[in-house]
């Protein structure tokens, strides 16, 4: 596709989506290699720079159109409920567990927090910040919880480099003295390598 045409196509896609679209998805739709997509989006970003009330943002391993923070007072006058979302520390805890341990069951979340989390989980599900995806093999086949795409927008997480790895958390000195890996390490690594972009792919599929 010609560059000018590609620019307009990406613009249209981002506008109509209203949320993040992965680079891979755009590349498939436009039949253009991913490097070319990044290049074109960067050009678009330059063009839009300071001329528009919106800008193209990298979120969760994809792109989306976001409003510039300067205009939030006006937006909140139009949609006062957009400013309502507050986050309790227990919700942030459950999200942290889901982020690093996904896929994870309710029982596992309860075990790590040491308190019942079903209320918080229900609220987070309702807000689409986490989602059920599959079931764990084993007694009772509990449902598995994963991070959902809006999570990356809410926290402004561009990609994995925006969050510390599981190893980096908790202070390094204890970690070096630890004998062997904690059981969660394997899952956490998996999450870090492909978790973020996976979410965008999944989101697209479930939409259709």
């Amino acid at each position: 596709m010609e560059t000018a045409e590609l620019k307009k196509t990406i613009e249209a896609l981002l506008f109509v989506s209203g949320k993040g679209i992965s680079k891979k998805k755009i590349s498939e739709i436009t039949e253009t290699p991913q490097e070319k997509i990044s290049e074109t989006v960067n050009a678009l970003k330059q063009e839009w720079n300071s001329n528009h009330g919106v800008f193209i943002e990298e979120i969760g391993g994809g792109y989306q159109i976001s409003t510039r923070p300067e205009y939030s007072p006006a937006i909140l006058k139009l949609y006062p409920w957009k400013g309502v979302m507050r986050l309790s520390s227990s919700a942030a805890e459950v999200l942290s567990i889901a982020l690093y341990k996904q896929p994870v069951t309710t029982a596992e979340i309860n075990d790590i927090r040491g308190v019942d989390s079903s209320g918080v989980i229900a609220t987070l599900l309702k807000n689409n910040l986490i989602k059920y995806s599959g079931r764990k093999e084993g007694p009772g086949n509990p449902r598995l919880i994963r991070i959902n795409e809006p999570f990356y927008h809410i926290f402004g997480i561009r990609d994995v480099s925006d969050i510390p790895s599981w190893q980096e958390l908790g202070g390094a000195e204890e970690e070096t003295e630890s004998e062997g890996e904690t059981p969660g390490d394997e899952i956490a690594e998996e999450t870090e390598t492909n978790g973020v972009s996976d979410v965008l792919e999944d989101g697209e599929e479930s939409e259709i």
Partner: protein, 253 residues
């Protein structure tokens, strides 16, 4: 412990792990090298001073038991299976503590990120439901709202009732059973319809039958099974229609 100089409430901690982590950090201990006897003593002192707050704190007590078990098992000879088990339990505890510490740190990062994202919007926004529920409505506020709703919608609410149970039906059922058995276990009758209402009506029915000389009651000792025995084999009992008639007058008088 320098914690003695100020009051720390138990509900400041989100769970026993949180309290344990706090104690360990206060002592500048390593999570993977806990001085178990020192920490156990401090944990118990901390919990002990706050028993009044402990209504919902079974988790805190269960952690206390675990700590004491590890501590006592570690005093046994190293070759004993209890000692080995305690070492393992302590390692598990360390790992759980580390996990909790990491999650706590990540929680802080997320809360900070969320704060700085407040003014960024996109078209597809997650539903605007408040996640911070604690700060909004208490049970009492909810009760007020409910009371207001009832007051403003000045309507008669329907009462939801369970199935109706008639004294006559229960008595007829007992008489029916007398046809095949001379003695009926009362607990057996209750099993068919286990509800408080049925039990109440059943007792009335039994008392009625005993009063009318149709059945007698037998019990071996207090709280034992009660048996209902038919007098004259139940066959000489009054025909059912008359029974009903008698019942109606009895009930109304």
């Amino acid at each position: 412990m320098n914690g003695k100089n100020y009051i720390v409430r138990l509900d400041a901690f989100e769970g026993p792990l949180d309290l344990l982590l706090w104690l360990i950090q206060n002592n500048n201990m390593d999570i993977y090298d806990i001085e178990i006897s020192k920490i156990t003593a401090q944990y118990l002192t901390f919990i002990g001073a706050r028993t009044a707050e402990l209504d919902a704190a079974a988790d805190f007590l269960s952690m206390a038991t675990l700590l004491m078990r590890i501590k006592s098992s570690l005093m046994l000879p190293k070759e004993s299976p209890e000692y080995q088990e305690a070492v393992e339990q302590q390692r598990d505890l360390s790992e759980k503590l580390m996990e909790w510490k990491k999650i706590k740190e990540s929680r802080g990062i997320l809360l900070e990120k969320h704060q700085s994202r407040k003014n960024f919007f996109r078209r597809d926004e997650p539903a605007a439901v408040e996640i911070d529920k604690k700060s909004t409505l208490s049970v009492f506020e909810l009760a007020d709202i409910f009371a207001n709703l009832i007051r403003t919608h000045d309507k008669n609410f329907d009462t939801i009732t369970g199935p109706e149970i008639y004294l006559e039906d229960v008595k007829a059922d007992i008489l029916e059973r007398f046809k095949s058995a001379d003695e009926i276990k009362i607990s057996g009758m209750l099993q068919a319809f286990p509800s408080k209402l049925y039990l109440a009506v059943l007792i009335l029915a039994i008392l009625d039958l005993a009063h009318d000389g149709i059945a007698s009651l037998r019990q071996e000792k207090p709280f034992a099974e009660i048996y209902l025995t038919s007098i004259n084999g139940g066959k000489q009992a009054l025909p059912r229609e008359e029974n009903y008639a008698q019942e109606v007058t009895y009930g109304n008088s």
